[in-house]
Symmetry: C2
Subunit: 69 residues, 2 copies
DNA sequence: TGATATTGTAAAGTTTTGTTTACATTTAAT
DNA sequence: ATTAAATGTAAACAAAACTTTACAATATCA
């Protein structure tokens, strides 16, 4: 299980989903799915988010040692 | 592009590929592919590796802002 | 040298991430 | 109130992560 603060950081920076999507080179749907925790981004995409917001991956995403990964 | 020091950390801990695979709940093939940089692990798997070796994701994996992701 | 553990390779299959499109709903501005 | 921008949803598709199996090549060690 992965929790994330993508939405918070996105709004903090006044980015629309579409703008952020463009910045990291994915579709808007992908942003939506990640924000909703529907999936588990790839590491390189996670790095892109972290870089854009200038934070560590661990600050943007938190791993919860749970039942199902 | 993602570089990683998985192999180094694995050997440092005297783990076989198979043992490490078991620890993080993936197949040995997955370990091989990641060690060889053949693919880009999911974030949750990356966290598992980092946790097992007791290092930050950023220490295990380095992101290179290149041509193709 | 011969047995055993470890690593390499390859290929076909499954699952999940990520795309694309299209439209509906909400929010923000004028 | 109306328009435009932003967000939500859904479904079919493509691509990449990950599995499984099977066997070959290296290393380790008695």
């Amino acid at each position: 299980m992965i929790q994330n603060h993508l939405r918070e950081y996105r709004k903090l920076n006044n980015y629309s989903q579409e703008y952020l999507a463009d910045q990291v080179n994915v579709s808007r749907q992908t942003i939506i799915s990640i924000e909703k925790g529907k999936f588990n981004p790839s590491l390189s995409l996670s790095f892109k988010f972290a870089n854009i917001f200038g934070v560590a991956i661990e600050e943007l995403f938190q791993y919860e040692e749970d039942n199902n990964e």
